[in-house]
């Protein structure tokens, strides 16, 4: 009789313990999951807070108000081969290249150095004897040269960088900086030489560069 009662009590205590144990495990797993979710959220907040901000300097910025910003072909001439263009007037420093069609007529021009002039220069083909001479019209405009250095650790895609003149004319630096790379980046310690044929017809006095929420400005020399 005593043995049977002891057995029943033992079974009840065992099952009770099992229930309590399982309940505690359920509660424990809830607490663990809750802490895990909170840690996830906190880590994300810490991650976003620790994201490096861009740091850079505008080393120098110069405005050339008489730069050749466009060369139009009036007459393509004939008898040319692909070659170079130079200025026959002034010493502003213009240079360019051109391509020809099957008859040797100039069909396209690319500016390699915009130069700086007080009046529109005469553009000529360098060292060729054509059948018919080509003629060109030049347009002078604002051209900005600037050197900027990445002084931080943030590696910036050029397509996320913008340059402004007098707070207007926003231009994506990725569209004006030629690096040969399809998606160029600006690395720590790297200096970029920006050459920008700014579209304003009037002289401008300042440029600003905005990178990921950080903006720097400089007066033009």
């Amino acid at each position: 009789m005593d043995y049977e009662v002891n057995c029943e009590m033992g079974a009840s205590v065992g099952i009770g313990g099992l229930i309590i144990g399982m309940t505690m495990m359920v509660v424990f797993s809830m607490v663990v999951a809750s802490i895990d979710a909170k840690v996830d959220t906190s880590l994300q907040s810490i991650d976003s807070a620790n994201e490096a901000l861009p740091m850079f300097t505008i080393d120098d910025a110069t405005l050339w108000e008489g730069a050749v910003v466009d060369v139009q072909i009036n007459g393509g001439g004939s008898g040319y081969t692909n070659g170079n263009l130079v200025s026959s007037t002034g010493n502003g420093g213009f240079t360019g290249t051109f391509t020809v069609d099957g008859s040797g007529a100039i069909i396209s021009v690319a500016i390699t150095s915009h130069g700086n002039y007080s009046s529109a220069p005469t553009i000529v083909v360098q060292a060729q004897t054509p059948l018919t001479t080509a003629t060109f019209t030049t347009t002078l405009g604002n051209f900005i040269h600037a050197n900027i250095t990445n002084t931080g650790s943030y590696i910036t895609p050029l397509r996320e960088m913008w340059i402004f003149s007098d707070g207007a004319n926003p231009t994506n630096i990725g569209s004006i900086y030629t690096s040969g790379n399809a998606n160029p980046h600006w690395y720590s310690g790297e200096t970029l030489h920006i050459q920008w044929a700014e579209s304003a017809s009037l002289a401008v006095s300042r440029i600003a560069i905005s990178v990921k929420g950080v903006s720097m400005a400089s007066t033009l020399a």
């Binding site: 009789m1 049977e4 009662v5 029943e8 009590m9 009840s12 099952i15 009770g16 229930i19 399982m22 309940t23 359920v26 509660v27 809830m30 999951a33 809750s34 979710a37 909170k38 996830d40 959220t41 994300q44 907040s45 976003s48 895609p157 397509r159 996320e160 913008w162 402004f164 007098d166 707070g167 207007a168 926003p170 994506n172 990725g174 300042r206 440029i207 600003a208 905005s210 990921k212 929420g213 950080v214 903006s215 400005a217």
Partner: protein, 164 residues
């Protein structure tokens, strides 16, 4: 013995039923709490991936006083990871909302307001009479497009100087 065994069994079954009910309630409550935490987490994630910043020259914000009402023009950059919704833009100038008179356009003039595009913002007000080199306080609030069911929000404040 038989009576004692039956009552013990009844107690055991009752204990199991009560324990099961409590567990069910706890698990149900936990499910609700877990959902609330998940909602909260996704909301915070959307906020942390939504960011807007002023772009350009804060010393030369364009202000056109030749038209009525006067027009202020500035640029905003998406500095977050989510595409921003320009229709949700709220602009406050010197503490007064000018949200009703906002016009905006993406620069370059196509695509969404992603991190590679700027938003050109033009706001006007009949109550403005600012002069060249006046300083104004500019505040902007913007939300992201709905991403994974959530919309993040960010704001920025900056002191700018007007260029008439």
């Amino acid at each position: 013995m038989a009576d004692g065994g039956a009552s013990t069994f009844i107690l055991l079954v009752t204990a199991l039923l009560v324990s099961g009910s409590v567990s069910a309630i706890l698990i149900n409550q936990w499910g609700d709490m877990s959902s609330a935490l998940e909602e909260n987490r996704k909301g915070k994630e959307a906020d942390s991936k939504t960011s807007v910043s002023f772009a350009g020259d804060a010393m030369e914000v364009e202000y056109d006083d030749s038209v009525t009402p006067n027009v202020m023009t500035f640029y905003l950059q998406n500095t977050g990871q989510y595409v921003l919704d320009k229709e949700t833009l709220v602009v406050i100038v010197d503490g007064a909302s000018v949200t009703a008179s906002i016009s905006s356009q993406i620069v370059p003039a196509s695509g969404d307001w992603s991190e590679v595009n700027l938003l050109k913002v033009m706001v006007d007000s009949n109550s403005w009479a600012y002069l060249d080199d006046d300083g104004v306080s500019l505040s902007v609030v913007v939300s992201s497009d709905v991403t994974s069911g959530y919309r993040g929000t960010d704001s920025m404040n900056i002191e700018v100087r007007l260029d008439v």
